[in-house]
Symmetry: C2
Subunit: 333 residues, 2 copies
């Protein structure tokens, strides 16, 4: 269990400074206080006070998303949410959700029973039972990457996929690429649909034709690469944009396996910028999502809904991080 | 000049309570503190402390928008922004902007010169000189109803026009209306373009045909009604959706003048729900924008940008407020 001493050691400050930070003392700066609190949350520290007091509770419902290791996509999202919530005296409980739970329990009933003031849902697919119930929920709810119409209790949060995909396509086009493939995430998800539209529109805006044989779904897993990369390569792709960094890492491996050099023969671009992206060989050019900020903003949106401020959407800017897996197109036109 | 006594009187609390609220004392509730501060800002109270200290400053740049009277569209937006900014120790200066100023001063230079940490821009049109400069600004900037691509220093805020127009069209369609006219706001503005798209798409989603002779731009002024309502009426419109409540009030007057009863002969729907909407005869059904919350959320977004959180958009839910200017369609089909 994390102690004050552990936090002090990590931050390189005295134990009394950590104690002051945790107790909101007025003789240390706000920045330092915030850093102490953020680190305490990150390290899983829980004070006696927070365990005893009857804090208000928020839930993070997670489906189909890894979040427990720092390398996972969901890790920073959960952390950012908790860091902001903790500062405002909310406890946060993480609830892994299965389709069984969704079938057995009504969403609103479950929240009421567990005394959650609101919830943040991540990783849900369009066909999920609870997603349908959100059309009429009265519980403050923030959804990562999913949108519900006309219910003022529900807010969408996400990175602007359109802008992210558009930046990647324009970047590749400026490097001379024309046969650009897109290995999207899972079908049956709003974010994949948005990115598919964005890819086709961005290609057309660059005067390029999105080709059927250069588009497929990769289900967010590296293994998907072997099913689609061979077809992309034989269809003349000079670049592949991927639905996440895991797919991209699989694509790099598959290209190498087939004797194609990355980036000389084929450029590869990921999505997310998880820690993996800087350790692939070559390191991965990717569309960064600010995941910690997504979590923090999700909390801000949820807290707004709790206070009856009808936020409908919050989106964050993506950022194109250029590393070594992309370069000018070498193919003759 | 507003005194502590004035605030106490308005709120019905003691002078010492107001004083505690203004000074952040810990023995009154957060809710009461917030109410005191909000009221102080609304009544234009400025403490000696706030006048003396060198507060950080934010600007609200206003063009083409009335905000000085409580009846004006911009009043609550400016108030909400100031209420939230004041709580976080920002001073807010309101700067009316002309095209001359925009031509004479570069946007970034002006902010630096005036020592603004960031700015909230309301009422700007697409052709404005400063809007072009926002593509590359390095100053934290929040724009009401305008969007700038790919610049992480700029955030869009607005009410979801698509949802608002869609709710109005569906509502009228459910009342049996088919010949629905749309008297939009000013051309050359993002919000009018969005609403035009939303109107045409919503009509089609209801199986109705948007007709050219039933669509026009009303420039957000009541006087525009007389130029367009006669044509709408002679083309068989049974309902008119308007770009704001001012246009709608002009439409009601024009219909009456021509012997058409509202709502029996023709339903009229406004946009915004400014105070005027409940005083027209009949009172106006309208698509409400939560203007105080728009202002508050604009501050939250701007403060996020100041802290390098790359918020791209924040939208709020509209709400259809049903009053007496709309009813089931009486026309034979």
């Amino acid at each position: 269990m994390t102690t004050i001493k552990d936090i002090a050691k990590r931050l390189g400050v005295s134990i009394s400074t950590v104690s002051k930070g945790l107790n909101g003392a007025s003789d240390i700066s706000d920045e330092l206080k915030q850093m102490v609190l953020d680190t305490a949350v990150e390290m899983g520290y829980s004070t006696k006070r927070s365990r005893k007091e009857n804090y208000r509770k928020l839930a993070i419902f997670i489906e189909n998303m890894d979040y427990q290791s720092i390398d996972d996509f969901g890790y920073d999202i959960v952390l950012g949410f908790k860091q902001n919530a903790y500062r405002h005296h909310y406890d946060v409980e993480i609830v892994p959700v299965t389709s069984t739970l969704q079938a057995e329990e009504k969403y609103d009933t479950y929240l009421l029973k567990k005394q959650y003031s609101g919830a943040f849902l991540v990783g849900f697919a369009l066909h999920d039972e609870w997603l349908k119930q959100l059309e009429t929920t009265t519980m403050p709810t923030v959804l990562l990457d999913n949108f519900i119409s006309e219910n003022p209790n529900v807010c969408y949060i996400g990175t602007d996929s359109n802008e992210g995909i558009s930046m990647a396509v324009k970047y590749l086009h400026n490097l001379g690429h024309e046969n650009i493939a897109f290995l999207n995430g899972s079908p049956n998800s709003k974010v994949s649909d948005d990115r598919q539209d964005a890819f086709e529109r961005s290609m057309e805006n660059c005067g390029l034709t999105p080709k059927k044989e250069l588009m497929a779904h990769g289900y967010y897993v590296a293994e998907s690469a072997k099913y689609h990369v061979p077809g992309f390569l034989s269809s003349g792709a000079s670049a592949i944009i991927c639905g996440n960094d895991l797919i991209a890492s699989g694509v790099i491996d598959e290209c190498k396996l087939r004797g194609f050099n990355v980036p000389e023969d084929i450029s590869v671009i990921g999505f997310d910028d998880i820690p993996l992206a800087s350790t692939t060989e070559p390191s991965l050019t990717t569309i960064r999502q600010e995941r910690n900020e997504l979590g923090r903003c999700a909390y801000v949106a949820l807290n707004s809904l709790v206070h009856h401020i009808p936020i409908s959407t919050t989106t964050l800017r993506p950022k194109l991080i250029i590393r070594d897996s992309s370069c000018p197109c070498s193919k003759k036109k």
